[in-house]
């Protein structure tokens, strides 16, 4: 399990990196934390001819609090975000979800841009982004552009960005005072990719009425997906056991996966329903405790 040879470049600015990407086209791969790419290279499932190591682009490592969102540089390590008191305070769903990403040593090196660019179907960070409705900024030969999470996840493996583009920033909306959230997942072992996971953000009004619901699932489709029918079912309802149950049952509509060794499609579909219900309940409990 040794990687195939490659040519190695280590740009120190976004500009330089974008130029290198343009020059080497499809032969090149960006190397961020390497926690997904290097295993694939060691298995020789990925054999990029050129690696563009962006670990020395210092300008890409930051967490900035804005008025309504938090801007995070693509090279910020997952663990730094997870343990940031500000993030925990303003966007707790992100910290909670991050705690489920592999193990600490993985998060110590894995980056926020990397997980989004890699686009694993079970990626927690992308799921949270989808739930919150944030955005991703990419830099390419034509300059910068902003993508919605839906655009980023247009197909498997972050199909929304092209091979000559670099993710530079991710924006996570701050949770408002009238919002509550939950993140839960089920995996075979602690730290494994989720068999199914659910992120939910609910905007609540008087009398436990859900004014707006955003719910996304991971691990059950080629990319993390919004469970729009669940959201619609919750919106405008007073949340109680039966409305939550009715909404949870619609989660299966978002499932699009095959039978796999560790979980059948049927089981995953069922897990979605259970976990949507549990996640909404958790969010509601938190709201009640406020």
């Amino acid at each position: 399990m040794k990687p195939a040879p490659f040519e190695y470049f280590v740009p120190t600015s976004v500009e330089e990196a974008v130029e290198l990407l343009a020059r080497h086209g499809d032969d090149a791969k960006v190397l961020a934390g390497g926690q997904s790419l290097v295993p694939m290279m060691n298995f020789r499932l990925a054999q990029p001819a050129v690696l563009i190591d962006i670990n020395r682009i210092v300008e890409l490592g930051y967490i900035r609090e804005g008025d309504s969102s938090i801007a995070i540089g693509a090279m910020t390590r997952q663990r730094v975000v997870e343990t940031s008191p500000m993030v925990r305070d303003k966007c707790a769903i992100l910290s909670e979800a991050l705690a489920n990403v592999g193990h600490q040593a993985i998060r110590n090196r894995g980056t926020m841009g990397g997980t989004l660019a890699h686009g694993d179907p079970a990626a927690e960070v992308a799921t949270v982004l989808l739930t919150l409705g944030g955005s991703v900024t990419v830099a390419g030969p034509q300059g910068k552009r902003e993508l919605s999470p839906e655009e980023l996840l247009a197909g498997p493996y972050a199909a929304g960005i092209s091979s000559d583009e670099l993710i530079v920033e991710i924006n996570f909306p701050i949770l408002a005072a009238n919002e509550t959230h939950g993140f839960l997942e089920m995996s075979r072992r602690h730290g494994d990719f989720a068999l199914a996971g659910v992120a939910a953000v609910l905007r609540m009004g008087e009398g436990n009425i859900c004014e707006r619901a955003r719910v996304a699932l991971c691990g059950v489709a080629p990319t993390p997906v919004r469970a729009t029918e669940v959201e619609n079912q919750l919106t405008g309802k007073r949340l109680d056991a039966s409305t939550i149950q009715a909404a949870a049952e619609l989660a299966s509509r978002a499932v699009d996966c095959e039978d796999e060794y560790h979980a059948s499609r049927e089981y995953r579909t069922h897990l979605c329903q259970v976990y949507v219900r549990r996640t909404i309940q958790l969010a509601l409990e938190r709201w009640g405790n406020n």
Partner: protein
Amino acid sequence: MTTMPPASKQAGEKWVGRSVPRREDLRLLTGRGRFIDDFELPQLKHAAILRSPYAHAEIGEIDVHAALELPGVRGVLTGREVAAMSRPFAVGVSPAPKYYASAVERARFVGEPVAVVVADDRYIAEDALELIEVDYRPLPAVVDIEAAMAADAPQLHEECPNNIYSQREFVYGDMESAKKEADRVVTGRFLFPKYGSTPIETYGVIASYDPFADQYEIWSNYQGPMVGHALVAQALGIAENRLRWIIPTDIGGGFGIKTGLYPYIALMAMASKRCGVPVKWIEDRQEHLIASATGTDRLTEMEAYVKSDGTILALKDRAIDNTGGYIRAPEPGCAYRSIGNHTGAYQIRNLEREVLVVGTNKCLTAPNRGYTCQHLYFSLERMMDKVAAELDIDPAEIRLRNFIAADQFPYKTATGGLYDSGDYAAAFRLALQRFDYDNMRQWQKEARAEGRLIGIGLATVVEPSVTNIAYVGLAKSYLERRKEHPKSGSGEAIMVKMDPLGKVHVIAATNPQGQGHDTVISQVVADQLGILPDDVTVSNVLDTHQRLTSITSGSYSSRFSSAGTTAVVLATQRLKEKLFRIAGHLLDAHVESLQNDSHKIFVREQPQRSIEIRHVAGTAHWNQSGLPEDMDVGLYGVGFYNMPTSEPPTEFDQVNSSNTYGFIAEVLMVEIDPETGALQFLKWVSAHDAGTVINPLLFEGQLQGGVAHGIGGAIFEETAYDENGQILTGSFMDYLVPTSMEIPEVDMIHQETPSPLTALGSKGTGEASAMSAPAAIANAVADALRPLGIEVNELPLSPNRIWHWIKDAQSSPSQ
């Protein structure tokens, strides 16, 4: 947790029985261990192995030209060259399918070696693998045990019709009368999965061929030499003394899996000879998971003939093992290894048994920790629960009614096992008490009424150790066996020597993989000689040219704590006899009147007439001629211990397949989330009787480790294939080794019933709950799911599987 006696001791007390921390730790904690990949040699080159991507395929032309042209490549060895340079490995079945170190004209499992590249480094060697072109012609594959025996199944080997490698039938006792006497027959069908203990250090070999001496030198993290050394020499067509094996002091875990490594020793020996350079090959994790070795999967059908009071009169069973694309020694041991303890902890005098070993397109097998005792007890202990359920007797009670009683030891089982000592009921009661069994049953009732799925699982099993190699003979009938040399034995050899200052050095070849043999040796020697463990150094590098080894040498089947320590005692006693004779001469006293303690030898009745051991040693070394001519002044002792109970099988196929027999009782409780099928442990007591405990700290370590392997096999681990023989668990992302979060706290208790067969009364304990936990967990899950009418007859108990069971039960009309 066990209470541990302090490591320091009072005068007159012994070191054996104390929690002495390990001397091995110091190098391992500081990064100074010496594992196989830490060794380098001048001119060393590196090998990578091209492996079959197909489960079953004809191999046509292999074009290696492009690979040979890559700069840094030193040579390529293909399967056809392997066939020309070696013979098939011998194995104890006939007719034996041909098994070489590499696939020759046909590959029979995914990952089977097809060619070897030798290059300047591993990176280049792997580059070259991609340049080799192989003309594969894929064939249909079979992976299922029963499908393999079907008439239309793909045939793996001409020699083995219906893919059957080994088949035998046995009858013990009087089945006819037992069947007549029985009030009922309880039946079960069980499928035990294929999994392996995946040591964190993978296989590794360094091979160096010397063309002038026509001799091979091998470094490897093999668990033997055992029979592997003879097998490789035979395959290479050389005398055993031309094949020197060295095993490094440190091995990163073995668990029986590393006994599957010897074909690679032959392969790298040939690569070294072919390329004219020393060659190193370190298996990578992917290679390990797809192609090294895992335990067998087994299909068991079992019938229990019982009386209404719960007495089990007879068992009838049929077990089919699957050793994969070939059958590799020590297989078919899987089918015969546990024959002596086949009736477990119970007085079952009648048994009818059919065993089959079949081939499929899966990777090969090795004795994985527990060596099919987990398979046996999964079916036997599930049966005990089924019998209990049918007769409406408590599962604890049914076990107590059938146990072998304390006053029946030594106890000869129907199949020829000779249980040396034990008190099963007492140990089990201890566990039940600690668990608070009766109250927990009550609580379970209440929790059930609330709709919770709570289950209590029991397993009470006999833990055999110190293999008697005789059992392999059962693969052949008595008439066939009679034509061959009889095989039996379990011997271990150790040498102890003393230097002129009275310090001791022990030369061992017990080949530990983390069990702490060196520390234990120092405890045992210190007690024997009345010195301190610190006065004893140990060298435990196995080297077939420099150590006293035999066909039984190696670390497997928990041999050390019983056979090994007895050899240490014998060796030390030889040395002590010499010391006493010299001391007697120097003190002018009769040898019989002498005693030793605290670094001295003295006259028992007149302790002031004493001499320090170092003075005796000094005399023996510095003044050899000053001592009487007929006195043996060579201050060393060699101890060889073969268990007297290691006899060949009888003409009635009875065999004492192991030598010491411990006991384990598991009592545990689980809760299942009915919505997700996820399983959680609520409580677990594990009682062990392994005779005298030599070092409680290390003992606890073995037990806790066994629990983790048992949980792995019961819930997480499986070497899984799709129907085409493609592997589904080829990385550590999919092959699920339990992490610290999946292993619960287990309350260990122990009882000591010393073995009469070993110097210290100790038995083996290295396999421990790896044998019993899968059965106990399965019983707990079955108990939890009983209200739903669900049978548990298959592992691993993944949430996916449990949920499907629950769902099917709820949607079935009977519910």
